[in-house]
Symmetry: C2
Subunit: 320 residues, 2 copies
Amino acid sequence: MHDHAKGNRKGRAGRKANDVKADLIAVVVAVINRDPCVLTIGLEAVLPSGPFELAHRSLQSGVRVWVEQRTGQPLGYIEQLYTFADRDRIGADERAISISYLALTREEDATSSTRRCWGTWYDYFPWEDHRSGTPAMVGDVLRPRLFDWAHNAADSATRLERRRRAGVAFGFDDRAWNEELALQRYELLYEAGLVEEATRDHGSTALVSVPGRPMIADHRRILATGIARLRSKIKYRPVVFELMPPVFTLLQLQRTVEALAGRLINKPNFRRLVEQQELVEETGETSVETGGRPAKLYRFRHAVLDESIAAGTKLPLARG
Amino acid sequence: MHDHAKGNRKGRAGRKANDVKADLIAVVVAVINRDPCVLTIGLEAVLPSGPFELAHRSLQSGVRVWVEQRTGQPLGYIEQLYTFADRDRIGADERAISISYLALTREEDATSSTRRCWGTWYDYFPWEDHRSGTPAMVGDVLRPRLFDWAHNAADSATRLERRRRAGVAFGFDDRAWNEELALQRYELLYEAGLVEEATRDHGSTALVSVPGRPMIADHRRILATGIARLRSKIKYRPVVFELMPPVFTLLQLQRTVEALAGRLINKPNFRRLVEQQELVEETGETSVETGGRPAKLYRFRHAVLDESIAAGTKLPLARG
DNA sequence: ACCCCTTATAATCACATGGAATATAATCGG
DNA sequence: CCGATTATATTCCATGTGATTATAAGGGGT
């Protein structure tokens, strides 16, 4: 019965011509000192990755193996991001597929390791951090460069469309900033030739790139995919707690969410939402390390993992 | 520079041992006569699929090629669902990866074809259609069978947990029905050994299966993934219009959404939401084929595809 | 001891959202 | 001309959520 399943109808036995190499690649996230950090290896900006092998029980376990082996970082929560055929190898006789994953951990969980390197993801995407208001570079650099790009379009139709896309993505023209559009923003900058990867891939238009550290190959795009997914997911699933220590104050929890979202949250509303959803329970202890009045310590109610599959764990992200 | 990218460190050149076969598999959806239908080939319940080949420009174009070649159905909207390593081939020296896609079309777009076969997806998931109230089988069959399964757990902890998971997924114990949990429901039934695929895969517990047509291999699980994704997506992206004819009445639009969601929507609220989001515009014409007062005809405002990336196109799904 | 600064916790207001019910309009068939 | 049927418009009300203000509890300096 299984023999028909997904079989290649024209001669499947022994046919290897179309077989591909499958790479696993991970966006490993932790929040360190109020900064959202991503795990890279070596000195260059390289995400941990490795080939999917026969020995791996599953794709997920393959990701765990590679990341732990190369960085000493054990992974907790893992979720698949996206699968794509590598652009830069198209045309060759060998073909590769990359299967990307998002992983959430805490820095302290790591064993001693050599090549591990945590860096805030706002080094790669400086325009994404709006916790202290809209970064100056958005108005000073991105806006004029993107409007130039729109203006230089061939016909007026694409001029208008580029202008609108830029406005939606970056909140120009009195539009609201939407933190979930991290991927669209990066892809727009790539399309406009304003990031190093674009000029590197095509070689053609050698414009001066916009601020923001590039990564190897298409890793920055994969990272943007992970950021966008995480920013979307924290609004309806209690995944933040994967990034928290076992015990924490509500403000620490809020700062973590703010680090990921890149924007500030209204404090009373945040508390109300967390409490009324019964996401946490008091430990009974308090923490004096906060500076002012001692803060109650909380722990995550793991029971909600069963319940909230249905519920929808929303988080109130401020508008202005 | 590209040479380092995602390279297998231990000898990548010419190493083919870990190469895999990559299959593309599609969940092609259309709504026909108020029924949500999925495209299958042949007489058996088989989703269209084919191997990813060197000739394909991208994964997406590979999906288009295979579906069109095997069913004559041109695809409009396409979106990646999930990638997984086939369970049933693990252990063999050959390994396969399946990359699944969700596609939305209209039946009329098809050219004449032989093996094409549209069937309502509620044939495969009869417990998912709540448009005429909760199906009798949920209370009469699923509930007792699932509670039996929970009761037969080894320890009391898993007994409780199984019971709660069943309650959340199917809305037992005064919980609300959540149409988006289609995948969880199928996986729960699989785990409980209540669908044919479970007994087929393991051979062990030969329980009498629950109503609902099985599919080949894990195709029913892929279909459930597609249904869940679509039911979730129609709430915040205007993808319904991919399934509509160029011109339609608001009630036709509502019936389409209801078919997908498997539940009824409050009519005035639906109209209000669609109109205030400016998703559609009047054509000026009316349709008399509706029986009563002539209905205004509308067409989709394609401009919102640029705008609503940010907006969030919600749809009001009734609670009771 | 007192004041002030800081942070935590609580209570309240105002508005938008969205579910539900009701009222009115237009066509068809007897 | 009447009633059945469907479309369209209006209103009501509970809830959710953003925002503001008030109160509590600690530390540190004078």
